[in-house]
């Protein structure tokens, strides 16, 4: 390479990042120390290096000062390595002649003593200067992007992402674990703050998914394995059987009528356990697809083999029902993936002091959503389990949220849905409704106005965390009631409030298998299990796995408008990938120096990607550059030192160590 030929000439650029770096690291003295480092011919400090004018400095110095190596001391390479590589490339130098020094995240933001911080920055800068001298020109390879997209999860996030992509002409596989799409939103009655009916706005989108030519919808199915990489993922989907063939079923539902069970006898999950269903059922009337499911745990034929099979008779010559159907496995190829696996509600039994599961009239908010829903188990009547209409209702906010004993985060939607339920309960029953809250959080369009409306409707608001719900009556007026004990922090009193019905506003949490899902897609997640976005502000739907995007509550609690916005963004990110046709890869692959390789085969079993093959004839190991992911495990293990790694060569790392410890 001509650009790298001759003497190494390094330019060192130190960023102030406004005061972010300069307030803690003495950038002037850091620049001065750069001047003393080997091969450094240009040293500059600048207010904002990532700005256009900052990048211009580098772009101009490269030809003018005949620089062939660049060191940028600024923020994390995860943030701006691509920016500065592009700047280097724009000046005609190979972009891999760049090394970054992280003096912001790793120094100025975490240390306070200016002298210590500056001295650490000098060490890291020296390491980078030494390292970059050993850099080589590298070429990126391009991998093509398969145009199909997998969307995992058929809640409102998955539905919206799938429709957006399909409307743009891309083929989408939408995989949903439940027998129907719709997710949690399908269980809600009204949506806050506009009180429009959830079903009215959701079901048309669900039907559109089913009808769309470009969407392959697999419900009652689960992704079980993901291999490959951005542009070329091989995905295995397990499709459970409903014992009803989707291609033959017409959705007449006559089989449901015909079932030997006259009444439902088994827990109806869609109605949050408040109703019962038959062994053959559809989750709810507008389910998509309109195909019943047989629950083998409940069906007489499966349990005893001695059913009259009236459902098959009812199906007649459509022949859609068969007890012999088995689960299937599908293998598909996609280029990108949108993960929209949603949330689960906090299990109220984990807060035993609120009496859920002990007192029948303590409900979770999700159960009350079903109670107020016209197509719910009580046809929209808010009644207690014994059929009474409650005269007083207490809504306990933040159950399982903002609590170190359960979940620490704010679930974001509970204040608003509690207000919504308060309104609906009052509207349906005329009951006195008490809200017990820590803070009312209504930051959203029209949210605060909704809160004001509730105040005018004379819903009671008591500021204080409820201590417990019991049926412990102190006097006859409390007899038969549920007693909420709470410290009213505005009045400065401990109060006992007897009510007929308690609603627990349970928080949102990651699904219990979130960690497994995280691993399967090679993403990262927080300790609690919400999937981590690549950057909280600037890459909110990307993950650390290229080509895998996030939408909805699997990334963190959010309401429907935010979920839909995020789903649209995830779809747009996938479209960018697909329409660009290919993606460049990091050239950090491992390779063998076959002259040195002794053929010991130590490396072969180490590679999880089977990228190393042993050439029997030559007795040498060779690494497939297309399948190597660049972890470097084989490099560290090679006894003869014949395996090397681009961008992470042994010499480069030894130089870093030397640089750090030179004045140790």
């Amino acid at each position: 390479m001509s650009e790298a030929g001759g003497a190494v000439r390094i330019g060192v650029y130190i960023c102030h990042c406004g005061a972010n770096i300069a307030a803690t690291v003495d950038v002037k003295s850091l620049a001065a120390s750069a001047a003393t480092m080997p091969n450094v011919v240009v040293w500059r400090e600048y207010k904002y290096l990532c700005s256009d004018s900052g990048q211009d400095l580098i772009r101009q110095d490269i030809p003018n000062q005949r620089l062939n190596r660049i060191v940028v001391a600024s923020c994390s390479p995860h943030l701006h390595e691509q920016t500065f590589r592009a700047a280097v490339a724009a000046a005609g130098l190979n972009p891999f002649y760049l090394q970054m020094v992280n003096i912001r995240e790793h120094i100025s933001w975490v240390h306070e003593n200016r002298m210590e911080a500056t001295s650490k920055a000098q060490d890291l800068l020296r390491a980078a200067v030494r390292r970059v001298a050993r850099h080589e020109a590298l070429e990126r390879s391009r991998i093509p992007i398969h145009p199909d997209v997998l969307v995992v999860g058929g809640g409102i996030a998955g539905i919206h992402a799938a429709l957006t992509l399909a409307n743009a002409g891309k083929h989408v596989y939408l995989v949903e674990r439940q027998p129907t799409i719709g997710g949690h939103m399908a269980q809600f009655d009204k949506t806050f703050p506009t009180l429009d009916c959830a079903a009215c706005i959701l079901t048309p989108k669900m039907s559109a998914v089913k009808a769309h030519q470009k969407i392959t919808l697999w419900t009652y199915s689960e992704v079980v394995q993901v291999d490959g990489y951005v542009g070329s993922y091989q995905v295995t989907v397990k499709r459970r059987t409903r014992y009803v063939r989707e291609d033959l079923c017409t959705g007449c539902l006559e089989c449901l009528e015909a079932c030997l069970y006259q009444e439902g006898r088994f827990t109806d999950e869609f109605n949050a356990g408040l109703a019962s269903r038959k062994p053959i059922y559809i989750p709810f009337p507008q389910a998509v697809p309109q195909v019943p499911v047989i629950d083998p745990e409940a069906c007489i034929q499966f349990k005893s083999g001695k059913c009259k099979k009236t459902c098959i008779d009812a199906c007649g010559d459509r022949h859609a029902i068969s007890f012999q159907l088995e689960e299937k496995t599908e293998e598909i190829q996609v280029g990108s993936i949108i993960v929209a696996t949603g949330f689960q509600v906090f299990d109220a039994r984990r807060a035993p002091y609120y009496g859920y599961g002990v007192y029948p009239d303590v409900y979770t908010a999700l159960e009350v959503e079903r109670l107020v829903n016209a197509s719910g188990p009580t046809a929209g009547e808010v009644v207690l389990r014994d059929g009474r209409i409650p005269k007083t209702v207490g809504i306990v906010h933040c159950v399982g949220s903002r609590d170190e004993n359960t979940n620490r985060w704010c679930s974001r939607v509970c204040c608003m849905y509690s207000l919504k339920l308060a309104h609906l309960i009052k509207e349906r029953t005329g009951a006195e409704v008490f809200n017990f809250y820590i803070d009312i959080r209504t930051p959203g369009k029209g949210f605060e106005e909704f809160y004001q409306k509730l105040l005018n409707e004379k819903v009671h608001f008591i500021r204080g965390r409820v201590a417990e719900v019991t049926d412990w009556a102190l006097d006859p007026t409390e007899e038969g009631k549920l007693i909420l004990r709470v410290e009213d922090t505005l009045a400065g009193l401990v109060r006992r409030i007897p009510v007929d019905m308690v609603v627990l506003s349970v928080g949102l949490e990651p699904r219990s298998d979130a960690q497994d899902v995280c691993r399967m897609f090679n993403m990262t997640c927080s300790g609690e299990g919400f999937f981590t976005e690549r950057h909280p502000k600037l890459a909110p739907v990307n993950t650390f796995a290229d080509g895998v995007f996030l939408a909805g509550c699997c990334q963190g609690p959010k309401d429907i408008p935010d979920t839909v916005a995020q789903a649209g963004a995830a779809a747009a990110e996938a479209l960018v990938l697909i329409d660009s046709g290919s993606i460049e890869t990091e050239p950090n692959t491992a390779y063998t120096d076959e002259d040195v390789c002794s053929g010991c085969k130590t490396c072969i079993p180490l590679c999880p990607y089977h990228a190393i093959t042993f050439l029997e004839q030559e007795k040498k190991a060779r690494i497939n550059q297309a399948t190597c992911k660049g972890c470097g495990t084989c490099v560290a293990a090679c006894p003869s030192g014949s395996i090397r790694q681009h961008l992470f060569e042994d010499e480069q790392i030894f130089e870093e160590i030397e640089g750090i410890l030179t004045y140790a």
């Binding site: 390479p77 912001r104 975490v110 691993r519 999880p608 495990t633 790392i653």
Partner: protein, 142 residues
């Protein structure tokens, strides 16, 4: 000789978990001891025992390797490889007279910014208690 001994730690952090955790410590402004110098590698499995030996040979007071938690490796199992390698390396270091506390392998996920602080501060504290490494070269100088 400064009043308080400030040990110098060479830290090898994997790109996907521990390096990001250190970044997160930054964005969350979690202050910690400035004694560690981070070298980024793609995976803790990339850390060649030679790097560790070289760091000690050149005067590091401690070496820290940070990787993803078991089962969470971005490259499926590089951290397991690191773990196995480290066991062997520990014995070697012991034979060379390098105290156990000077060499650590820690699993720190991308979400554990707080843990970066805990691990580094704890290591600094232990190294301070241990004092500078006694090396023949240093003795001559002193």
């Amino acid at each position: 000789m400064p009043e308080v001994f400030e040990p110098k730690i060479v830290a090898f952090f994997c790109n996907w978990c521990t390096y990001l955790a250190a970044d997160l410590a930054g964005t969350s402004r979690i202050k910690h001891a400035p004694n560690a110098r981070v070298i980024r590698v793609m995976c803790s499995g990339r850390v060649d025992p030679q790097f560790v030996l070289d760091a000690f040979a050149k005067g590091a007071d401690g070496v820290l390797i940070g990787g993803c938690h078991p089962g969470d490796c971005h490259y499926q199992e590089g951290n397991y490889k690191a773990l196995r390698r480290v066991a062997l390396l520990r014995r070697l270091l012991k034979q060379m007279g390098i105290e156990e506390e000077r060499f650590r392998l820690e699993w720190i996920s991308a979400a554990e910014g707080e843990r970066v602080k805990t691990v580094i501060n704890d290591m600094v504290e232990k190294l301070r208690a241990l004092g500078p490494r006694v090396q023949p070269v240093r003795k001559e100088v002193a």
